[in-house]
Symmetry: D2
Subunit: 185 residues, 4 copies
C-alpha cells in the first residue's frame, strides 16, 4: 500500500484517501489483475493509483480540473499513467462512452449519486462490483437506498481509525475522520 505521504496533494482537491481506507477498499473490491475499473471522483488519485497497481485498466472521471491534474501528476510519479485514462467531466454525460468494466468505484459524485447508480446499473451485470466511499451522512443513506432499490445485495462498514504519534512522553492517538464503505456483494 502507498503511504499518504507518497502522494502529491493540494488544498484545492480532497484526498488522498487514507492508507487504511485504500487498503479496505482494495480488499472489499476483490480487484483482479484482469479487471477494468471505472472510478468516479478520483480526487488526489489515492484509490486510482491503488487500483492501477492491481488491475489492467482504470477509467477515472472527475469534474474538477485540479483533481484530474493532480491525479495525473501522482500517476506519473509512480509510473502508473499508462494504466489509467483520466476523463475530465461529468459522470452522467460520460456514461455512454464507457461500456465495459468490472468494478464501479464512486469516491465522489457531486450530488448525482442516485442518478449515476441508476444509469450505470443497466451496464452492471451481477458479477460486477460497486463500491462507494461516503464521508457525508446523507451520502451513506442515498447509497444504501439506491442500491437496495436497484436490487443489489449490499454490505456497509463504518471505519474509525486513529494513528499513533510516537512522542517522547508516550503514544498519542490522532483520529482520522470516520468514513463508510458501501459495496455490493
Amino acid at each position: 500500500m502507498l503511504k499518504d505521504s507518497d502522494f502529491i496533494s493540494s488544498s484545492k482537491v480532497p484526498g488522498p484517501t487514507k492508507e487504511e481506507i485504500r487498503c479496505l477498499v482494495m480488499c472489499k473490491s476483490n480487484v483482479k489483475s484482469t479487471d477494468t475499473v471505472l472510478e468516479i471522483g478520483c480526487g488526489t488519485g489515492g484509490l486510482t493509483l491503488e487500483f492501477a497497481r492491481r488491475c489492467e485498466k482504470v477509467y477515472s472521471i472527475d469534474k474538477n480540473h485540479d483533481a484530474i491534474s493532480l491525479t495525473s501528476q501522482n500517476l506519473k510519479k509512480h509510473f502508473l499513467d499508462d494504466k489509467v485514462d483520466l476523463i475530465e467531466g461529468d459522470a452522467l454525460s460520460i456514461i455512454n462512452q464507457i461500456d465495459s468494466f468490472d468494478i464501479l468505484m464512486i469516491g465522489g459524485s457531486g450530488g448525482d449519486l442516485s442518478e449515476i447508480l441508476e444509469k450505470f446499473s443497466e451496464k452492471i451485470s451481477n458479477k460486477k462490483k460497486i463500491i462507494i466511499t461516503a464521508i457525508l451522512i446523507e451520502t451513506k443513506t442515498e447509497a444504501i437506498n439506491t442500491l437496495k432499490k436497484l436490487g443489489f445485495e449490499i454490505e456497509v462498514v463504518e471505519v474509525n481509525i486513529a494513528r499513533g504519534h510516537i512522542l517522547n512522553r508516550g503514544t498519542m492517538m490522532f483520529a482520522e475522520n470516520p468514513i463508510a464503505i458501501i459495496y455490493t456483494v
Copy 2:
C-alpha cells in the same frame, strides 16, 4: 455544559477538554454541590470550570505557568474564580498542603502519574473518587496498573466522538481524538 468556544484558549496550553468528554467526566465523578475537588493538570481549565459550577471548592494544580494563567482567565470570564484555588507547581510537592478532598481529578501528570496516585492514595478513603483522563496509550496502562495495585476497583471507557459540520452538500463528520476515562468505583 460550556461550549468549547466559550473558553479562551492558547496554542501553548492543551485543551480545553472537549465538551462531550467534560460531560462524561462530570457524570462519572458524581460530583455534588458539597464536594471539594482536587485537580492535577488543569490545562485550559475545561474540567476546572465544570467542577467549579457544580461543587463547593476546587484546588487546581499545574506545573505550567501558562496553564494557570489561562485557567484563571477562563474562571474570571465565567465568574467562577472565587470557587477555585489555582496552584502553580508540582503535584508531588504540594500533596502535603492539601488534606481534604472528595474527588481527585488527574488530567495531566507530567510523567508522575504512579507516584502521584501512590502518594495521594493514603489520603483517599474508599468513599473518594479518582478520575483520570488519558490521551496517551501508556498513561492508560499506568493508570490501570497503579490503581489496581493500590487496591481500587476501577472502570475504563474509551470514547471516540465525531462532530457533524453542516455543509450545503451534507453533514460531514469530523473526528475528535480518542480519549480514555479511568475511574474508581
Copy 3:
C-alpha cells in the same frame, strides 16, 4: 447517572440507552428542574428515568405495550413514577393532547420521524429543544433533513464508546454500538 444494570430489562424491548449516551443526552438537553419533557419511544425507560430525576414532569409515549410496562416497572423501582405520565399509543395521534413542553426527546419513532417532527414543530417555540438519538443510518439523515427543512439550527455528534473488562491478563475493550445524537441549538 444510573448504571445500565440498575434497570430491569427485557429481550422484547430495546434499551436501556447506555449510561454514557444517557449522560451525553442529559448534557445536550440542558434539562432544568422546571422543565417538562415529552419523550417519544421510551423503550426500557433509560432516558425517561434520567429526565425524571432532573425535571418537573415527563410525558412518555410508546406504541409497544411491553415498553410501557417495563418503563413503569423501572420508574417504580427508582421511586420516580409520580414524575412521569406513560402513554401507550402512537405519537401522531397523541400530539393534540399535549400542548406544553420544553424538551422533545425522540428515542424511537416507529418510522414516523419526519411526520412527528413536522406536527410537533408547530408547538415548538425557538426556545424549546429537540433531541433525537439514532442507531439507524437512515434515521440520522431523516432527522437532519427534516430539522433543517423546518428551519432549526442543529448539531450532530456520533459516539463510539468501548468499555474495559478488567481481566487477570489485562483490560479488554468491548465496543458499544455507535449512536448519533442530533439536537437543535
Copy 4:
C-alpha cells in the same frame, strides 16, 4: 479476503480475526509471495490462512491444542495445509528451531510478549517486519515499549469498525471491538 463465516470456529478458541483487521494486517505486512511468516498465537487461523494465501511458507505456533486443531481444520477446508507448519507449544521454547523468516506476526503471546520480542529480535534483521495485534490496553503499551527499547521504528493504528445489518426499517450499525495494530517500519 476470506469472510468471517468462511472459518470453522469454536467458543474455546479466540477468533477468527475479523475480515477488516485481516485486511489491514495484510496491507501493513507488505507480505510477498516469496516470504516466510512466523506466527505466534494462531487462534482460529484467521491470519494464518491469509498469510498462507499470499506467501511461500508459514510457521504457526500456539500453546493451545484446540487452536492448533482448529487452524488445521481451517487450512484443510481451504486447501492451504501444505503451506503451513503448525507447532503446538510455547513460543519461547521453539525459538531456537526457527532461523529464517521475513515477517513475525504476534496475535497472542500468552503473557510473554516482551520476552518473545527480545529473543526473536536477535534473529530479525532490519529488513524484517514485526506485526502485533492487541486487544488488551496493556499489550499495546508492552508492544510499543519493547519495540522502542529494541531500537525499532514503529507505527500504531487503532481500528474501530462497525458493520451494518440491513433491516427492513433501516441499517443498524454493530460495532466490532477495538483493536490496535503495532508494526515496525
